[in-house]
């Protein structure tokens, strides 16, 4: 009897250790360390304002942004996305049937980790899974249609706090891969994402002030110049091209892991989709 109890306690302890080792603790430490770093760099910027990126560092640019967002130039595009979302499939069902609560306040849970498939599932993956399950053709990753549809679908989660979970060893491994990619130097110019958005954040590269990485993932797709739709992974590509690195493909394992890591780092911040960027 006593022995059994000891075994149970030991098993519990072991499980507890495994749990500590593989889930919350480490990513959560990364996130709070990063927040503390930015608090030192930007003592006057509130955590909630990190979602504005470089705009949070420049009150004039921020107030221009607020004016534009009052009458966003992309509202017609957003209507196209809405139409796609609401148009029934051939079987009569709609996208809303694939998500809890008709798709409201769900986008902040993505990317998620699918333990059975042992891979990261982005919101775009979930959209395509929905199309497939309903016998419809899937959309191409990184292209305009997917951008417009997800711009509207994500807007149903406006205000939801980003809530990415890293639980279990598979999830942690994917997170670690994303984190490693983020810090790896790449391209002829030898930059990592970290060079610019952690080491360089707040500084100017020419005329561009560099945003902090926390808060970068909560508002995608965005409309650059007001009408040019860019997905988050499309932005990864642009940044990599700028450093003369060879960009990866949209929905590649590398970019999905990177998105998983980067979005986890925006946990707790409110979603807003889409947004304007110059």
């Amino acid at each position: 009897m006593k022995r059994k109890l000891v075994y149970i306690i030991m098993a519990g302890l072991l499980l507890g250790c495994a749990h500590m080792g593989t889930s919350h603790i480490k990513p959560e430490e990364d996130r709070s360390a990063m927040i503390n770093l930015y608090k030192q760099i930007f003592p006057n910027i509130k955590f909630e304002d990190y979602i504005y990126g470089a705009l949070a560092m420049n009150p004039d640019a921020r107030s221009q942004y607020d004016d534009i967002m009052a009458f966003p130039p992309y509202s017609m595009d957003l209507d196209k996305g809405k139409k796609m979302w609401e148009t029934p499939f051939k079987n009569g069902k709609k996208f809303s049937s694939c998500f809890p609560d008709g798709g409201k306040n769900v986008a902040g849970n993505y990317p998620a980790f699918d333990n059975a498939a042992n891979r990261v599932v982005t919101f775009e993956n979930a959209i395509n899974a929905c199309l497939k399950a309903n016998g419809e053709a899937e959309l191409k990753y990184g292209e305009k249609e997917m951008g417009l549809l997800t711009a509207y679908a994500r807007s149903l989660s406006d205000g939801m706090k980003v809530n990415v979970k890293v639980e279990g060893s598979g999830a942690l491994a994917a997170y670690e891969k994303g984190k490693k990619y983020y810090a790896a130097r790449n391209g002829q110019l030898n930059f990592s994402c970290r060079s610019c958005h952690v080491q360089g954040s707040g500084k100017f590269i020419r005329m561009d002030q560099l945003s902090m990485m926390i808060g970068q993932a909560s508002h995608w797709p965005e409309f650059r110049g007001g009408t040019d739709i860019v997905t988050l992974q499309g932005r990864f590509k642009q940044c990599e091209k700028n450093v003369r690195a060879k960009p990866k493909a949209a929905n590649s394992e590398e970019y999905n892991n990177l998105e998983y890591y980067l979005t986890y780092m925006s946990n707790g911040l409110p979603m807003q989709t889409p947004v304007f960027r110059k």
């Binding site: 030898n190 930059f191 500084k203 590269i205 020419r206």
Partner: protein, 120 residues
């Protein structure tokens, strides 16, 4: 006597021309070094560094320190060249692109830029 003067004269002229040539070349080096440094597809140094002494150095970034008083701070040309060749050799965390090591610039272009920067 006359022959002597002629020889002397032509000697002076040729010396003069030679020095003129050198002067012209020196200015060209300065100009070339500057254009490699300013060119966005080459050095693009202004992306990160201000060059306060040059009014043409417009809208610089501030990721790196301003490039000024370089002779005083880098009396040793080789050290300055090495910094431009590969800043990560002495500071592994440096975000400055390794212009020589990664063949962003040629050997000759690195030399030109080094001379231009050392003159700032």
């Amino acid at each position: 006597m006359r022959i002597k003067t002629t020889i002397l004269f032509s000697l002076v002229v040729s010396l003069c021309m030679a020095s003129l040539g050198i002067a012209a070349e020196g200015a060209a080096v300065q100009e070339d070094g500057k254009s490699v440094a300013f060119n966005r597809a080459k050095g693009n140094c202004l992306a990160c560094h201000a060059i306060p002494s040059d009014p043409k150095a417009e809208s610089p970034g501030n990721i790196g320190p301003p490039l000024m008083s370089m002779k005083a701070r880098y009396p040793d040309r080789a050290k300055l060249r090495a910094k431009i060749w590969d800043a990560t050799a002495t500071n592994s965390d440096s975000v400055m692109p390794p212009f020589g090591r990664n063949k962003i610039l040629t050997e000759q272009e690195v030399d030109l830029v080094t001379d231009y920067i050392q003159g700032l």
